[in-house]
């Protein structure tokens, strides 16, 4: 069995499920949900963190011991993302940052070029940078080169719950990129998280599917198990999948007669 540990920014993580704090019906359910999910890395939009009010401050609803992964939601350019990252760090959110540069508000597609720029600047400043991107091999290579701690390709547009629509592109990243690949966005069901893990993704990040579920805590737990099951399946090595039945009248059977 392959050695199985996920290391990001020098930190060894037990859980391969990263979670988010947006879209919940109330703040006081967030802590229980994250605990049920077993997640150790939790993302939050810095724009929503209210540092002035302990009751409103989302950071007070994240279980102790979790790594904070503030994100740059709202940034339209690399420059804005960098400014948001610096505010997060100065405010005591640690040195992990998820880069979200989104200059399209209809589909919420990430701007890969600006994301590379922001990643380069922030990695140099000592941040553990996790960039959110459209899955593209050359972009992922560049991100790796400039110091990304992981690459986070989208499975489908954010919040769409459509599953792994970009599966073939992500598969290439998994094969070719050394830093961890975390599938972020689009995962709507536990089975889809399992699918991503089964194909070899290092981790997944899930927010909408958990936060907007009828029972977020139950859904957090379900995702935890799905991620574990998918990972175990990957490590155990799935058998080859055939899309055709084994022919009972083989087309090359005649060769046996010739060669004997």
């Amino acid at each position: 069995m392959k050695k199985d540990s996920l290391v990001i920014g020098g930190v060894k993580l037990e859980s391969r499920l990263l979670t988010g704090t947006g879209k919940f019906p109330r703040k006081d359910i967030i802590k229980d949900t994250i605990e049920a999910s077993g997640s150790q890395v939790v993302t939050m939009a810095l724009r929503r963190v209210d540092f002035d009010s302990p009751k409103e401050n989302i950071l007070n609803y994240i279980p102790k011991g979790c790594i904070l992964l503030p994100n740059t939601s709202g940034a339209r350019t690399a420059e804005e993302a960098v400014r948001i990252a610096r505010i997060a760090k100065a405010a005591g959110c640690g040195n992990w940052i998820k880069i979200e540069v989104i200059s399209d508000n209809k589909y919420l597609m990430p701007d890969n070029q600006e994301t590379i720029k922001a990643t380069e600047i922030l990695a140099k400043e000592g941040f553990v940078v996790l960039p959110y991107v459209s899955p593209d091999l050359m972009v992922a290579k560049r991100l790796e080169e400039v110091g990304a701690g992981a690459v986070m390709p989208l499975g489908a547009p954010i919040g769409s719950n459509r599953g792994l629509k970009t599966k073939e592109m992500i598969r290439i990243l998994i094969d070719e990129i050394e830093v961890p690949i975390i599938v972020d966005a689009g995962i709507g069901k536990p089975s889809q998280a399992a699918e991503a893990m089964e194909m070899g993704a290092d981790a997944v990040l899930v927010n909408t599917a958990i936060a907007t579920a009828q029972d977020p805590i139950g859904m957090g737990r379900a995702f935890a198990k799905a991620v574990q099951a998918g990972r175990m399946g990957y490590l155990a090595g799935s058998g080859p999948v055939r899309d055709y039945a084994k022919a009972s009248s083989p087309l090359t059977g005649f060769l046996e007669g010739i060669e004997s």
């Binding site: 947006g22 919940f24 724009r47 909408t208 907007t212």
Partner: protein
């Protein structure tokens, strides 16, 4: 480039005929589609679609939760000045209406801001009447500079400006622009805006676009329902939103749904928008533009407002006073009568009960 060209394209359509001819099958076909075209949107605004409101509501609710989450944004308005040089037939601040006009000085603005911020509000919308003499851009800029320490984000709802002026205000700390066309029908626009700079239809129509070019993060537009047939106005406002969405990808867009209410003066709405009509507008907006915010103002009553929430609303004003000095001073004149008088605390409690997280903080000035 201007939305006016788009307006002219659609203006020639016989919308009354489209609305009349739409049938149940059309509505069913539209509701089975993944993403809607403008023709589909017209079907959802048609009289026959009122029979399908429940079905529309179920889908609207689902799409809203998926796109925005189980959250509602809260903000509060602050009126700086009610001096106005326009004569708008429908407005209480109309230059012809006699009442004691008021303009807050910077110290008063700071006090009002402080009073609002103390309640827990983080997003502020500042408003003025149109008077370059009483509330010039320099005054609004000073106000923004005085207020920005109290709020994490400031939007403006003021008279239309030139692009350079919007840039100046963004530089001072403004993030968002709210500006209503009032009525998209150009002929009616001319009739109800009797005198004043607001008579210039195109200058107002292009204001959101100038704001977008200047770098606003958020733009909120809408008609004032009641001035023309609401179905047509809902159509043009959504088409306007779509135009901005297509051309300025990074904008956060929202639509508002103000309805004409009684006020000083004697203007009566041309088209009455019933509660049922309002529901239809919200649902049609949501299905046509799933990523666009829908803002509900204090003008609607408590009960209706609570019931409209799950249909697609993403933004509410809370702790609203529509009078200049209304948060700290007595004897102010309101721009319009407010129906929902609940405090922020009550609104937060109600949202939580209804399964929505109230969001006060949604931006840090960067």
């Amino acid at each position: 480039m201007s939305f006016y060209n788009e307006y002219l394209k659609y203006k020639g359509l016989n919308l009354d005929d489209v609305f009349k001819r739409a049938n149940d099958n059309d509505v069913r076909r539209v509701l089975a589609k993944d993403s809607l075209e403008w023709e589909d949107f017209l079907i959802l605004l048609s009289p026959v679609a009122t029979k399908h409101l429940e079905e529309m509501a179920q889908r609207a609710n689902k799409e809203t939760i998926q796109n925005f989450g189980r959250v509602i944004f809260l903000y509060a308005p602050l009126y700086l000045s009610d001096h106005c040089v326009n004569q708008c037939a429908y407005c209480g601040f109309n230059v012809k209406n006699k009442f004691k006009r008021k303009k807050l000085n910077i110290e008063e603005i700071r006090r009002e801001g402080e009073a609002i911020a103390k309640k827990g509000i983080k997003h502020l919308l500042i408003l003025t009447g149109e008077s370059r003499k009483h509330s010039p851009v320099s005054y609004i800029k000073e106000a923004v500079e005085a207020l920005k320490d109290y709020f994490s984000s400031i939007d403006i709802e003021i008279y239309p400006l030139y692009k350079g002026e919007y840039e100046e205000l963004i530089e001072a700390g403004v993030d968002g622009l709210t500006i209503y066309q009032e009525v998209y029908n150009e002929e009616i626009y001319d009739q109800v805006h009797i005198t004043g700079p607001k008579k210039d239809y195109r200058y107002r129509l292009d204001a959101p676009e100038r704001g977008a070019k200047a770098g606003m993060r958020r733009i909120n537009i809408g008609p004032l329902f009641g001035l023309d047939d609401w179905r047509k106005e809902a159509f043009f406002s959504a088409i306007h939103t779509q135009y901005l969405q297509k051309n300025y990808l990074d904008l956060e867009l929202a639509l508002s749904l103000p309805r004409l209410r009684p006020h000083l003066g004697s203007f009566q709405p041309k088209s009455i928008v019933s509660d049922r009509d309002l529901v239809q507008i919200i649902l049609a907006y949501r299905l046509f533009l799933p990523r666009v915010g829908i803002s509900l103002s204090t003008r609607e009553g408590e009960n209706l407002r609570d019931n409209l929430l799950p249909l697609g609303i993403t933004k509410l004003s809370a702790e609203s006073s529509t009078a200049v000095g209304g948060y700290t001073q007595k004897d102010s004149t309101d721009q319009f009568a407010i129906s929902d008088g609940r405090s922020l605390k009550e609104i937060k409690k109600l949202l939580l009960e209804k399964g929505y997280q109230p969001i006060l903080q949604d931006w840090h000035r960067i």
